[in-house]
């Protein structure tokens, strides 16, 4: 009966789809059917291996904060091995109790909890059950992974149909999936049983870790979502029709060539549509769903999205989908800053001048995940740096290109941004501070995070095994961003983006691994960067090159002593500055020290290792250079500032 209704609805939608194409034409000014099919550029269709297709029929019931779902999966075995079981991610079960892997970081209050209430599972029409598989010894009760025994082999090129009926309460969000508290806003991600990845005859299907959550195969997703009349829906894919009944609005979304599906529903957000025209003239539809209080940010959101798209289209590769949706989430929602295929979430501070680069950088970062995770679908649970590191790097490059240098701020009363640095505050009252416009480098945030954890873990380590949140942040975000910056500085921007383009084209709609990226780099550089990946990627080496001294040995002769203090090796340029000229030397950086002896008639001023700061991991930039004459001016000038701030602080304290 259920599927009969579903089929009737679908017929209705195909009819409506025609009407909707007219609507689409109005938005994009183009006949989209010429370029797209199932929301994907026609030129890309044959590049996608559709392994898992999904069809959903969803009813949202705000009265009970829950959804009722009919899910139908077609899984195709496109491997060389046969399978007799099928694994699923049941990520909503992460919110079940404080005994889940996820709750190891995000503690769940009763209002944050939920779990799948499954009423029926059919495999090729036969009733089946989930067998829960706990993969993390520390959390035996975790039920975010389950399998179904198929009872027969699914051979290569065979397929299987799985139908699941369930209800799911949408909890108050603690992170990602959930609803807001102060407004009717439902963010529905991690919400459906999703097939694992069958790789080399083995199922790869990891539990829902607090910060790691994606790995699945590409396919075609279609969702028919019914919501109360006054609700709007934002979702992965292209909206291919809405039916209106007396009490409900029913939306249909379709997307081919993606590996996940998320959606949001609210009776409160504002909708704005825009378009982006590619260089070849084709159009991407941009959908913005914005909180009423943040509509003042619409222009900035729009520009940030368009700048990000332009950056990727020009430097890395084509955005292959018909639609891109940005959801600005309420302040009482914990779903901000997340990425899903063709949809991402952001939020913005109440007061935020554009020089703070907020919310622009967040938009750029989440957008970048469309490529690094959405299209280049690495296993995030094992190699989070391939999405987080690349997205951080790309977002920084976007900011540099379109927004210039950001300015440091600190906040008063939790909201009001003041330009400058607050060195010390007491009870939120700044005690030692400087109010001035101080620019920062986009990678500076990564530097400061890196300095908090130098040695625990390396980029190459398996992400889900890293010890704790800080180590994860450093090795997935900060160090990879710095690594990519350093790589760019070694190779030059042109070569760097050539490599990224090549990497993208080779691995789009696939599951690249870290080794794949390194292979691409090596192929562009003749294998000359083994030392780089060994030192920066493979281990947590520390870098510090220093000039110990530079002295005159006899008339016109000098001796320059360079030292490698850290265990990390990084070949460096060594520049010697004379009154008229710069003598350029090179040191492979391998030995613990290196002495350069040289003669010149000119007056020698000083010398410098790595003058272009190619090695952003160098822990002390100041000792990279050495001046023949000691100068007190900088330390005195900077101390004088400090002195003045302290004088004021003492007067303030003395007010008691």
């Amino acid at each position: 009966m259920k599927f009969f209704t579903l089929s009737v609805l679908l017929v209705l939608y195909f009819a409506l789809g025609l009407v909707n194409n007219e609507l689409e034409k109005e938005i994009t000014g183009q006949n989209i059917e010429k370029y797209y099919s199932g929301g994907l550029l026609k030129t890309e269709i044959d590049k996608v291996k559709n392994i898992a297709d999904y069809l959903f029929k969803v009813d949202l019931e705000p009265e009970t904060h829950s959804i009722k779902v009919d899910e139908k999966i077609v899984w195709r075995n496109k491997s060389r091995f046969s399978a007799n079981e099928i694994y699923f991610h049941l990520y909503a079960n992460a919110y079940k109790s404080n005994n889940t892997v996820f709750s190891g970081y995000y503690k769940l209050a009763p209002e944050n909890r939920t779990e799948f209430q499954i009423s029926k599972i059919l495999v090729n029409g036969t009733k089946k059950e989930f067998i829960y598989v706990s993969k993390n010894k520390n959390y035996p009760q975790d039920s975010t992974v389950a399998k179904i025994m198929l009872g027969k082999e699914i051979n290569p090129d065979d397929s299987v149909i799985v139908e699941i009926q369930y209800r799911l309460k949408i909890p108050v969000s603690v992170k990602r999936f959930g609803r807001a508290k102060g407004v009717n806003f439902y963010f529905v991600s991690q919400w459906f049983p999703k097939v694992g990845v069958f790789e080399n005859g083995k199922w790869i299907c990891e539990p829902y870790y607090p910060y790691l959550n994606f790995y699945s195969d590409f396919g075609r997703y279609e969702a028919v979502i019914s919501v109360p009349k006054n609700y709007k829906v934002a979702a992965t894919g292209t909206e291919e029709g809405i039916t209106f009944s007396a009490k409900r609005n029913i939306f249909r979304f379709v997307q081919n060539g993606v590996h996940d599906f998320a959606w949001a529903a609210s009776d409160n957000f504002l909708y704005r549509k825009e378009k982006f025209t590619r260089r070849n003239g084709t159009v991407i539809r941009l959908d913005f769903f914005i909180q009423p209080g943040r509509i003042k940010y619409f222009e900035r959101y729009k520009n940030a999205v368009k700048n990000s798209l332009r950056f990727f289209e020009e430097n890395i590769g084509e955005y292959p989908y018909q639609t891109l949706t940005m959801v600005d989430v309420p302040r009482t929602s914990a779903s901000s800053g997340m990425e899903y295929p063709t949809l991402f979430t952001v939020s913005a501070p109440l007061i935020s001048p554009i020089e703070t680069h907020s919310p622009e950088k967040l938009v750029a970062h989440e957008f970048s995940h469309q490529y690094f995770q959405g299209i280049l679908a690495n296993n995030e649970v094992y190699e989070a740096w391939l999405d987080e590191g690349f997205a951080s790097y790309a977002a920084s490059k976007i900011m540099e290109k379109y927004y210039g240098k950001g300015l440091l701020t600190f906040k008063l009363a939790g909201y009001y941004p003041v330009y400058g640095i607050n060195f010390l505050s007491y009870n939120e009252i700044p005690v030692i501070y400087s109010i001035e416009k101080i620019p920062y480098n986009e990678y500076d945030r990564s530097l400061s995070v890196y300095y908090k954890n130098l040695t625990l873990g390396s980029i190459a380590d398996t992400s889900c095994k890293l010890p704790g949140r800080l180590s994860y942040r450093v090795n997935s975000y900060a160090k990879p961003e710095l690594m990519l910056y350093s790589l760019e500085r070694i190779l030059g921007s042109e070569k760097m983006f050539g490599i990224l383009r090549d990497y993208f084209n080779k691995y789009k709609f696939k599951h690249p691994k870290g080794a794949d990226f390194i292979r691409v780099v090596q192929s562009h550089t003749g294998g000359g960067l083994t030392w780089f990946f060994e030192n920066v990627y493979g281990k947590s080496a520390l870098f510090d090159y220093k000039i110990k001294y530079l002295k005159k040995t006899k008339k016109d002769s000098y001796k320059l002593f360079c030292e490698r203090i850290g265990d990390g090796v990084f070949p460096v340029d060594v520049f010697i500055y004379t009154s008229k000229d710069t003598l350029r030397k090179f040191w492979d950086g391998r030995a613990r020290w290196k002495i350069f002896e040289f003669s010149t008639h000119e007056k020698v001023l000083g010398a410098e290792i790595d003058p272009y700061r190619k090695n952003l991991f160098d822990l002390n930039f100041a000792n990279n250079s050495f001046l023949l004459s000691t100068s007190y001016s900088a330390s005195l000038a900077l101390s004088a500032n400090w002195y003045f701030w302290l004088q004021n602080a003492l007067i303030n304290f003395g007010g008691i």
Binding site: G182, Y415, Y577, A622, N623, S635
Partner: protein, 301 residues
């Protein structure tokens, strides 16, 4: 006395006793110097032979600042403790100066440096006892501020209204500043009453002052705010002049240093103006009690 009279008379008193600002300045300069030395050594160690030093004279390098914080984390981590200890010593020495200053302000005939130090020694112990009580009050004020903060966080956790949250937090911020102002007023007036009346019972005097200020709050607070605003004006003028001084070449920094010291001296003069006006108000408000008796005596003789 009108507010205007208080301000003119107060300013005149400060003007006649301007030499004492040197003492406050000296103490401030010495305290800041002690606190600056560790930072100077860090900077000298890091920059004196580095090309980076020259670059920093001309441009910001936030990466370098992050490195300094990381490389010298141990030393920098101890800095707040050094600051708090030194502030404690600063307050104790300041009590000595404030005792002398109030004594001299109170009695215009006694404006010799000898009287100043005599007053300083005489009133130091009671002012220090008062300081301890006031510190407890400040602690309570900050605790109250904390509780307000937690209440706001709790309430707005489930509310969409970010503007409401911001306004409430701003109000809390202003309220904290107001609370600090009120405590400073209590503290100042108690100091004055201890010196002027030569009394030793600190707590009793504090309670008297709280009574006195609550009855005459408008006048007392108005003068306090006006003097504070004059002080704020100094900062505005400093910033306007500061913009005019070019950042390079670096020897212009000497000019900046002089300007900054002028601001510090101005701020210390304002601190003196607080006391001089407060003494005038205090004497004005308690005049009835003091003046009545001599008049009666005169009648008798």
């Amino acid at each position: 006395m009108t507010v205007k009279e208080i301000l003119t008379l107060g300013a005149r008193t400060v003007y006649y006793n301007k030499k004492f600002v040197i003492l406050f300045w000296g103490m401030n300069a010495a305290g800041a110097l002690i606190l600056t030395l560790p930072i100077y050594y860090i900077l000298a160690d890091n920059l004196n032979n580095s090309i980076l030093g020259y670059k920093l004279l001309n441009e910001y390098d936030f990466s370098w600042l992050l490195q300094i914080k990381f490389l010298y984390a141990k030393n920098i981590g101890q800095f707040p403790y050094l600051l708090y200890v030194l502030t404690g010593i600063y307050l104790l020495v300041q009590n000595f100066f404030v005792g002398g200053l109030i004594a001299v302000f109170h009695n215009p005939q006694k404006n010799h440096i000898v009287d100043f130090f005599y007053g300083g020694v005489k009133y130091w112990l009671r002012l220090t006892r008062l300081l301890l009580i006031v510190l407890v009050l400040f602690y309570l004020a900050f605790k109250l501020n904390d509780i307000f903060g937690n209440l706001i966080t709790w309430y707005y956790a489930g509310v969409e209204n970010a503007m409401g949250d911001f306004l409430t937090r701003s109000f809390r911020y202003v309220f904290l500043l107001f609370l600090i102002g009120v405590l400073m007023i209590f503290s100042d007036y108690t100091k004055i009453s201890l010196v002027v009346n030569d009394r030793t019972k600190v707590l009793k005097e504090l309670l008297e002052v709280i009574k006195l200020t609550s009855v005459n709050f408008y006048k007392i607070f108005t003068v306090f705010v006006i003097v504070a605003l004059i002080g704020g004006l100094g900062a505005v003028v400093y910033n306007l002049l500061g913009i005019l001084i070019p950042a390079k070449p670096y020897y212009y920094l000497i000019l900046l240093f002089v300007l900054r010291q002028m601001l510090i001296i101005f701020r210390l003069l304002i601190k003196m103006l607080f006391y001089s006006t407060e003494i005038l108000i205090y004497k004005d408000l308690t005049a009835k009690v003091i003046n009545v008796q001599p008049e009666e005596k005169e009648v008798i003789t």
